[in-house]
């Protein structure tokens, strides 16, 4: 049924006033109802068109303004050192008034997904991205990152710690500049050790650590001898577990890319991990990642903790830590295989090849990773707050050594991290606490869940390693390994 046919009778009820008045004239002039109906429809259509066009123009101008912007967009994570960088970026804008900065701060995994989508589709939303040393060589191989060639001599590429620099090199070229770097070390409570009459060896072994942890644990007072990462994830529990396995003479894959998880070194390593966390660990260890352990240690519940060196600065911060004056440091414990790759991570600034403002981006990246930037942080926030683990000159600085007593441990730990070194048997991959292949994110997280299952009592170590072995074999087969 067509309501429009009865336009004349419905006029008073249905038509808005302006159309009414305009079209009344047409009725008077031509005298036919049909003409008036036509007029009403034409008027309406014109109105709708006008509105559509003005909305479209509005949208278009919005898009154009956004594109003509001469700013660079920096994607980063919300770690303390990045917060400082964001805060100090006004100094950069003073130095370079023609470059404006826009910040996108995201959760680590969201950032990875977001940036990957953007680069893979060549959308070019980001001019500077924060990436780990896990991604840099993989992304460089894909042609996603700009090579950092021709850096000025004043930048001092050789001042960047060699293991960190090597981790960012692909095919002889640097593809990212390190913003801060870390290895791992052992933190312990000097007051608890003194009370129990114990002494931390200068270079502890895992056996010694086990004995010490047992003596310190006092569950009635909620003191746990050993805190370790238990939260499943390739960058959480598997970072520590991989390093532990390396130390006990194990590895992820043999030279033909066959997984070697169900082997004696893994059994020994996971057996130790499972035992010590059950005997001396805090309750609910499988929900503890870096942050949770940091909070446990800072609130005085851990006797020892083996984790990333970046925790040193955080534990020293009296605002966050109740044990700031009772912390001792030791290197990472060693196992049966000496000189194994331990732990090396760096957060780096890189420029996607899709960036439309590469020059401005390069100016920013070299500024934020320079010696001058480190001095700027020292001037503004004190030497203890400077981004660690990137430059020899930082560790040579007596003021830094004075302000950060853990500095020499961190430096040493990075120097011996040996990410490109060999495991007990030859291996086809690099990486210290990870395996530098794209598939590792998935594999690591899956195996991480299986291993967390031993802590909750879901499965035994033997069962878990068997399951992890077959799951990893399946993924590797599906991904087309062995490739060579």
């Amino acid at each position: 049924m067509n309501g429009g046919r009865n336009c004349d009778r419905a006029g008073a009820l249905t038509t808005p006033r302006d159309t009414d008045s305009v079209c009344k004239n047409s009725l008077q002039q031509s005298g036919t109802i049909l003409a008036r109906g036509r007029c009403v429809i034409a008027h309406r259509i014109r109105g709708v068109l006008k509105a559509t066009v003005s909305v479209a123009v509005l949208l278009l101008t919005g898009a154009v303004v956004a594109r003509a912007d001469s700013t660079i967009t920096i994607a980063t994570v919300n770690n303390g050192d990045m917060v400082v960088m964001q805060h100090l970026s006004s100094e950069f804008e003073k130095l370079h008034p023609d470059i404006h900065l826009r910040w996108v701060v995201l959760e680590e995994n969201v950032l990875r997904q977001r940036v990957t989508t953007d680069i893979a589709t060549k959308a070019g939303q980001f001019d500077v991205v924060t990436v780990g040393n896990y991604e840099v060589p993989i992304w460089a191989k894909q042609g996603w990152l700009e090579a950092m060639n021709n850096l000025p001599a004043s930048y001092g590429v050789d001042d960047i710690l060699k293991p960190v620099r090597q981790g960012l090199t692909y095919d002889g070229k640097l593809y990212g500049l390190p913003f801060y770097g870390e290895s791992a070390m052992t933190y312990y409570r000097t007051d608890l050790f003194d009370k129990a009459g114990l002494k931390m060896p200068d270079a502890p072994t895992y056996e010694q650590i086990r004995g010490l942890a047992d003596k310190i644990t006092d569950k009635t007072h909620e003191i746990y001898g050993m805190c370790l990462r238990g939260k499943p994830g390739w960058g959480e529990n598997m970072a520590y577990v991989t390093s532990l396995v390396n130390a006990e003479g194990g590895q992820w894959f043999d030279e033909k890319w066959k997984p070697t998880i169900d082997t004696p070194p893994w059994h020994k390593a996971i057996g130790f991990y499972d035992d010590i966390l059950k005997a001396d660990g805090p309750p609910g260890a499988t929900s503890n990642g870096f942050n949770e352990n940091l909070a446990l240690f800072a609130s005085g519940h851990c006797g020892m903790w083996i984790d990333a060196t970046v925790a040193g600065g955080l534990l020293y911060d009296k605002k966050q830590s109740t044990v700031a004056d009772k912390i001792g440091f030791a290197p990472m414990p060693t196992g049966s295989f000496k000189g194994a790759p331990t732990w090396l991570w760096s957060w780096n600034l890189a420029i996607p090849t899709t960036s439309k403002q590469k020059d401005a981006a390069r100016t920013f990246v070299t500024w934020a990773t320079s010696k001058e930037y480190i001095e700027l942080v020292a001037k503004q926030n004190g030497w203890v707050s400077v981004p660690p683990g990137t430059r020899q000159s930082t560790y040579d600085n007596p003021e830094y050594q004075k302000a950060a007593p853990f500095a020499s441990f961190v430096h040493k730990a990075i120097e011996v991290a040996n990410p490109d070194g060999q495991t007990a048997q030859p291996r086809p991959y690099t990486g210290a606490q990870f395996v530098a292949i794209p598939e590792f994110q998935g594999i690591g997280t899956q195996v991480g869940q299986t291993i967390a299952g031993t802590l909750t009592g879901q499965s035994s170590v033997d069962q878990a390693l068997r399951a992890a072995q077959s799951a990893t074999e399946r993924v590797m087969r599906q991904s087309g390994y062995p490739r060579e």
């Binding site: 989508t117 909070a295 800072a298």
Partner: protein, 271 residues
């Protein structure tokens, strides 16, 4: 049948129990936002409240920009969805064909696809159209995303309206647009309002698309919250403060409009 006092008391207890259970996470979040970082990670009710987290959140990010983006995008997405859904639901409710049922079900089935499945195609479309990091792009996505739900809800509300009323209007010479505007909408206003409110809340809380399709310019409050999580450093108190600030506007809005919402949602429930 009159409920006995015991039944009434039981119903009250169960009702309050469920309400408190549902409200607990929000209350806990608000509590956490007043804790210091080390306190925030350990459960406990005894603490000395501090505003540090709020201060830091305000210093770190420009709350207002994010909030304005959220308002513009949510309202825009809802209005756009209603503009399409009202005629669509009208056609399906009053002029059904044999394919109407199938069409409705098909529309709903699009909600069953995980959004990440279409991330790359949408991202490519947005890139080509220059819509990445723009409010208009998100408005379009939100409208499309909520369209099935909005059409379904409006459809059920419209089904309640007797066809005779519209027929009477037509007898008086109302055309389709007038029928909808002067008869249908006034009759189903509570329903349309609650549909709009629900759509608004869904838009406000949407995180996947807003995180993936924006960077710095058009990012709404969901991106604001996400920026306070940290892989290395304590963040629960700051994250809670940011979340509290992000949900506060919609919470207040929901509080004021709850009568509409409940009225609308129960509108067609009892036949």
């Amino acid at each position: 049948m009159q409920p006995t006092p015991l039944q009434r008391a039981l119903a009250a207890i169960v009702g309050w129990g469920v309400a408190l259970l549902l409200f607990f996470p929000i209350a806990w979040m608000v509590l956490t936002s007043f804790k210091s970082e080390p306190q925030a990670i350990t459960p406990g009710l005894m603490f000395s409240p501090t505003l540090d987290s709020y201060r830091e959140v305000f210093a770190r990010a420009d709350y207002l920009t994010f909030a304005i983006n959220s308002v513009v995008i949510s309202v825009g997405g809802t209005v756009l969805a209603l503009l399409f859904a009202i005629p669509a639901a009208y056609a399906m409710a009053f002029h059904p064909t044999e394919r109407t049922r199938g069409t409705l079900l098909w529309m709903l089935s699009t909600k069953m696809l995980p959004p990440v499945g279409v991330l790359v195609p949408i991202y490519l479309l947005f890139r080509s159209a220059g819509l990445l990091d723009s409010r208009s792009g998100l408005i379009a996505i939100y409208a499309l995303m909520n369209l099935p739900i909005v059409v379904w809800m409006l459809f059920t509300f419209y089904k309640e309206v007797p066809n005779e009323i519209l027929e009477a209007g037509r007898m008086d010479g109302a055309r389709t647009a007038s029928e909808v505007w002067y008869l249908l909408l006034p009759l189903t206003l509570p329903g349309v309002a609650s549909t709009g409110l629900l759509s608004l809340i869904l838009c406000w809380n949407e995180a996947f698309w807003s995180l993936n399709l924006t960077s710095a310019g058009a990012a709404p409050l969901t991106a604001f919250i996400a920026s306070f999580s940290s892989p290395e450093g304590l963040f629960f108190a700051k994250l809670s403060a940011a979340s509290t600030m992000a949900v506060a506007p919609i919470l207040v809005f929901g509080w004021f409009s709850q009568r509409q919402l409940v009225q609308g949602l129960t509108f067609g429930a009892v036949k």
